[in-house]
Amino acid sequence: MQTGSRNRPGEDGAPPASATFEHRRRRDAAAVLPFAALVLFVSPLLDLMAGADTLFGIPVGVLYIFGSWFALIAATGLLARRLGDDQER
């Protein structure tokens, strides 16, 4: 787990943040993900969504579960790539 002291220009004109800070932010985001997954899949939120309602003929519960699933996959993938880059340095 190495973090360079190299500075990167921040996005949208923000002051450049250090790589260490960026890495910590990604790590914190990575820590949030499993809890987000828990809330999405093992909480009354799911009960709320899994009713008899349908959207375009498909149960809302199914759309909710697979939608959340793919969103989590995308978030994990993006973060993993960044964190993997951090690790390489």
Binding site: P34, F41, G61, W69, T76, L79, L83
Partner: protein, 921 residues
């Protein structure tokens, strides 16, 4: 209907294809041309051994019966993978640095390379997995029987098929799984074949899903419109069972022997994880995408048929033989890949943790030291055969209905390892005793409340016991332990087993003390990311390099053993020959051997040669490392900052003093210049009068010249006094020390002041102590002080009772001379002020001193080692000179004096100029 021989031909062709892939991949790996074998996608696909035939067929069955309930099995792993950065990454890194070969090895290694824990986890894994293997055999025969239903009797076919398949799997596993004793326990051929099978099963399920959704139905809306009532309206999804299933599958993804094998042991590159963490959940999402549509379609089109086989029967009944055949191969792939990897993982565990220690003990008692490699390989192969045989036997004897529940029962068994695993990674204080207690308790509860009752009274637990509890005690009913009712058996078991497991694990860990080796391993595991690769050796051991090489070749083979030693020698900076048997090399070797035989056995083997050794100081330091280092660092930092604070405080103090001294100096200078200007002004004024007034009378002129002379004398005296004071204050005055009689000093002073006294009408009386007091001091200087005091007394003593008393003597404070007048005295708050420069006590008497007499007198006394003070409680002013018997050996250093004497009380600074000003106007 598909012809039976076509099915068998395709199946055999597929098997040959898999063998070819495995063979080819193995050869490539051996030639060092890894290429895509190390690709993150191959790694991801190999993880799909998680999806067995039970999930391939059973997920649809579960969905058909209870809707969303098939999902937690996939959502649990997804949750774990989203948190990969904290769990999986650490697990993989630890396994790589410690050369971990299995889940049992991990637990054993972390808890002090404990052989007992290795055995316990191995037994648990075998008990949990063998029925699961039986389940795979069952699913394959079931799927065969679907196709064979054409006419022949299904039963004998299925049993024989299962046997053939078990034999085929054994051959494949032994061929590619135990080709060599790899120091890394990696099987590239197996992984390649499994990756292929992963593609086949995903593609097959997607094909069936697409066929069902768009061929049998007119799209997903059409399918969901056909939902039966019990699937369409689900009130609560998140039930206790849902939570249980999620937890079970989350723990299974790391704890199941086969999952640990592909996820951790077969891992070729840590960076692959960053791909797998999103790709594997994607695989799971895709494989579950069509589960609900297939289930709904099956319920709609094939009511009354076994929902577990909808994946096959739906395309078959529609006449889509190609899709059915593909689905069959998918299920076959799912079943075989699970069996192969499970058999490899279990055989590694059994041979490393059960066979090897037994054999080592036996060989030692017989005094034999043969080729361990052969033993290891043989034990692996036999273990594989034994495990598959066990699975087959279980398949034969167990009731078919009991098999359905096996999947989750198996998960629940391995979940008992989960607390110990998490503790191993994150809790330094977790001990082997605690882990063993937790696992044992969890295992007992699992067996009593879940595994044994699943035989429905056919095995160990009778039907009566299951119904009414052991010995008829209601509190011991397996499905309602301690009266806990209203939960399904799985949730019930998981609650009690985890409660017992975790509380014993934590409680016993807190109560027990870990062994040094255990503490060392705990540090290595928990702080894996903070450790350098080359950890210092814990144990100081000694062995000859030759013995160690012999051991290494016995386990790794000649070629690999020699290669290992050559590398180590190069690392030690040697050009050739054997490496030195240093502690760290022995430790390194032990770890390399652990990659083949497991950490506990490797430890035992190396200890047989090098001895148990003593725990080295370096090792202990390492144990106490990170945390203590942190504490130490912060403690040092705190000390540093305290030091800094102290320095800053001193600096501030010094600065304040300097400022005060500076202010004093300014005040003094302005005072001096003022004092000098006053006589100068009058001299200049009278000189100007004399010059500018032509007709000045000679009498007037004499008067003016008299004033000028007087003022000049005043000026000279002032300059002399300033000079004298500055010399005294800087300690640059040399004294003329000699034996001095005090009465002689007084006589001299009286003589000098008699004129002054007479002119003021003052009488002076002296009280002399007998015998004569003689001290060593500077006669002239002491006399100067007495003279100064007498003239002060004459000046300020007042005119009511103009009398001065001089007393000399010796008391507790030493020799002294006192000069007392009978005037108004000095008010207490002015007693220190009189020693300030340019101070005059009243404006009444202006003549004479410039106000430096007393400061000079005090400086003289101090320089001589004594003091000058104003005594209280007498009528009139009393000055007392303290006279030491001899002056201090060395004159006090200037700076020392400056620091001691300079700061006066702040009052003086204000008062002094005022007095000075008044005195001169």
């Amino acid at each position: 209907m598909l012809a039976w021989d076509v099915l068998v031909t395709v199946c055999l062709g597929y098997v040959v294809f898999l063998f070819a892939i495995a063979f080819w991949a193995d050869r490539r790996a051996r030639q060092g041309r890894f290429g895509w074998l190390r690709s993150p996608y191959v790694y991801t696909l190999s993880l799909s051994v998680y999806c067995t035939a039970w999930t391939f067929f059973g997920a649809v069955g579960t969905a058909a019966r209870s809707g969303y309930e098939f999902l937690p099995i996939y959502l649990g792993p997804t949750i774990v993978f989203t948190g990969w950065y904290f769990l999986l990454r650490k697990l993989v890194r630890i396994a790589r640095t410690q050369r971990i070969t299995s889940i049992a090895d991990l637990i054993s290694s972390r808890y002090g390379k404990s052989p007992v824990l290795g055995v316990a986890v191995t037994l648990l894994a075998v008990l949990g997995s063998t029925p699961y293997i039986a389940l795979q055999l069952k699913s394959i025969t079931l799927s065969f029987s679907v196709f064979a239903n054409g006419g022949e009797d299904a039963a004998p076919v299925s049993e024989l098929t299962a046997l053939y398949i078990a034999i085929g799997l054994a051959i494949f596993t032994i061929l590619f799984g135990t080709r060599n004793v790899d120091a890394n326990e990696r099987h590239h051929g197996v992984v390649a074949a499994i990756a292929m099978e992963a593609i086949v099963k995903l593609a097959a399920l997607l094909a069936v899903g697409i066929f069902v959704t768009w061929v049998l139905f007119a799209g997903p809306q059409d399918v969901f419109a056909a939902s039966p009532a019990h699937l369409a309206a689900i009130d609560t999804v998140v039930t206790p069972r849902w939570v249980t299933l999620t937890f079970l599958s989350a723990s299974a993804i790391v704890c199941l022997p086969r999952m640990f094998q592909v996820l951790v042991v077969e891992q070729t590159d840590e960076r692959n994880l960053t791909t797998a963490v999103w790709a594997f959940p994607l695989y799971l999402a895709l494989i579950s995408l069509f589960v609900l549509p297939i289930a709904i379609a099956g319920l709609d089109r094939l009511p009354g048929e076994d929902p577990d086989l909808f994946v096959l029967t739906l395309p078959l009944s529609a006449g889509a033989n190609g899709v059915a055949l593909f689905a069959f191969l998918g299920g076959f792939s799912a079943a075989t890949s699970m069996v192969i990897v499970a058999a490899i993982a279990l055989s590694t565990m059994v041979s490393n943790h059960i066979v090897m220690p037994l054999w080592l003990g036996w060989a030692r008692s017989k005094g034999r030291a043969g080729d361990l490699r052969a033993v290891l390989l043989a034990s692996r192969r036999l273990s594989i055969l034994a495990i598959l045989t066990l699975g087959y036997l279980y398949f034969l004897v167990a009731a078919p209905e009991a098999l359905a529940a096996i999947g989750l029962i198996s998960f629940a068994a391995m979940a008992q390892v989960f607390p110990a695993l998490v503790g191993a990674l994150f809790w330094r204080g977790a001990t082997g005793t605690g882990a063993l207690a937790g696992i044992a308790a969890g295992f007992l509860i699992w067996g009593y409340t879940l595994a044994l009752p699943s035989f429905e009274g056919d095995f160990l637990l009778g039907a009566a016991t299951i119904e009414h509890g052991a010995f008829g005690i209601a509190a011991l009913r397996p499905h309602a332990l301690f009266g806990l009712e209203g939960f399904d058996p799985l949730t019930h078991t998981l609650f009690w087993s985890m409660l017992a497991n975790v509380s014993l694990f934590v409680g016993v860990s807190l109560a027990s003390r870990p062994q040094p080796l255990e503490q060392f391993q705990a540090a290595q595991f928990v702080d894996v990311f903070r450790q350098s690769e080359a950890a210092p050796a814990l144990v100081a051991r000694s062995a000859t390099s030759e013995d160690l090489l012999a051991l290494a070749t016995r386990i790794l083979g000649r070629e690999e053993g020699e290669e290992l030693f050559a590398r180590a020698a190069r690392a030690q900076g040697k050009r050739g020959g054997l490496p030195d048997p240093t502690d760290s090399f022995i430790e390194h070797l032990e770890r390399e051997l652990a990659g083949a035989v497991g950490s506990a056995s490797a430890h035992e083997l190396v200890s047989q040669i090098a001895g148990r050794g003593t725990v080295s100081v370096d090792g202990l330091m390492k144990i106490a490392d990170e945390t203590l280092q942190l504490i130490e660092t912060s403690r040092r930092l705190a000390a540093k900052s305290a030091e800094l604070e102290e320095t800053a405080r001193q600096l501030r103090h010094a600065n304040d003093q300097l400022k005060r001294i500076d202010a004093l100096k300014d005040a003094f200078l302005s005072q001096v210049s003022h004092e000098l200007r006053t006589p100068m002004t009058s001299i200049r004024a009278f000189a100007e009068i004399l010059e500018e007034t032509p007709d000045v009378s000679s009498e007037e002129a004499r008067h003016f010249l008299g004033i000028i002379r007087e003022e000049s004398q005043h000026l000279t005296r002032l300059l002399d006094e300033i000079l004298d004071l500055s010399f005294l204050e800087s300690g640059r005055v040399t004294f003329n020390i000699a034996p001095v009689r005090l009465s002689e000093v007084i006589d001299r002073a009286l003589f000098s002041t008699q004129g002054l006294a007479r002119s003021q009408g003052v009488t002076i009386e002296t009280i002399r102590e007998v015998p004569e007091i003689e001290i060593e001091t500077d006669f002239d200087r002491v006399a100067q002080v007495v003279i100064n005091l007498i003239s002060n007394a004459v000046k300020y003593g007042g005119s009511v009772d103009p009398r001065i008393t001089i007393r000399m003597g010796r008391d507790a404070d030493g020799a002294f001379i006192e000069v007392a007048d009978h005037g108004p005295g000095i008010p207490p708050d002015k007693r220190e002020e009189v020693f300030e420069k340019f101070t005059r006590l009243s404006e009444a008497n202006l003549a004479g001193s410039a106000g430096l007499g007393l400061p000079i007198a005090r400086e003289i006394m101090r320089n001589l080692g004594g003091g000058l003070r104003v005594m209280p409680n007498r009528p009139g002013a009393v000055f007392r000179m303290d006279l030491p018997d001899r002056p201090p050996a060395a004159a006090p250093a200037p700076q020392e004096k400056a620091a001691k004497d300079v700061p006066p009380s702040p009052v003086n600074e204000e008062v002094t100029p005022a007095h000075g000003l008044q005195s001169s106007t």
